[in-house]
């Protein structure tokens, strides 16, 4: 399992398309920084293909006032959870 880390909003950047297409069937995707905009209920359809394997960083949602707008299909993790995800993964790939 590989952990992919995306820090770009799907409202501005198309990098999420390449990220999704490069993900294996067990891989996980963590949204951080501006990437957490993709976790909003209004945006999460972009990430349908990885439902159940989609994570978002709680601290980055909270600082943006978005914790309550995060879609319920997204697994919200804090930075400890971020570390855990890297422990469980064979490696990480950052997309920006």
């Amino acid at each position: 399992m590989i952990l992919h880390i995306l820090n770009r909003s799907p409202g501005t950047s198309l990098v999420y398309r390449d990220t999704l297409s490069a993900m294996g069937p067990e891989d996980r995707l963590l949204l951080i920084e501006d990437g957490v905009l993709g976790a909003l209920t209004s945006q999460v359809r972009h990430f349908q293909s990885v439902e159940g394997r989609l994570f978002a960083l709680r601290e980055d949602l909270a600082s943006r006032g978005l914790e309550g707008r995060c879609d319920e299909t997204v697994q919200v993790v804090d930075v400890d959870g971020f570390v855990t995800l890297t422990e469980e993964a064979d490696k990480t790939v950052s997309w920006f």
Binding site: S9, T12, D34, L37, S42, A62, R64, L66
Partner: protein, 125 residues
């Protein structure tokens, strides 16, 4: 979204970046504040991801970075009172115009074009 609502002014600052992810939004707001302090009539347009600046309930970053929510509260003190929000971005992010930190007028593309035309100087951040 009537075109008659597009104000004239000295400077239009277009804010296209979300808070916290980069310093664009903060540095754009700083430029707006200073221009207003210098007596310019300043309008702000929140466009694209920039409308995230208007989400209520923002907090400092994990290391204590200030963010920009507090700066928005200072705008009125500087007599900046013309706030516009890109209607297509509001739609895209499912944000209601009455659920914004600042009362902002939703504007469509044609009105944005008029805003750009009717301000002497336009800066994008």
């Amino acid at each position: 979204m009537s075109s008659s609502l597009a104000a004239n002014g000295d400077m239009l600052v277009i804010l296209r970046h979300a808070p916290h992810g980069s310093s664009w939004l903060r540095e754009g707001l700083d430029a707006a504040l200073v221009a207003a302090a210098f007596g310019q009539r300043v309008s702000l347009l929140f466009q694209g991801d920039g409308i995230m600046a208007l989400v209520p309930g923002q907090e400092p970053g994990a290391l204590g970075q200030k963010g920009t929510a507090a700066t928005l509260d200072m705008l009125a003190m500087y007599d900046i009172e013309s706030f516009y929000a890109d209607a297509s971005a509001l739609d895209r992010f499912d944000m209601a115009p009455d659920d914004l930190q600042l009362p902002s007028l939703p504007v469509d593309g044609a009105t944005i074009a008029q805003l750009i035309a009717s301000h002497r100087l336009v800066l994008t951040f």
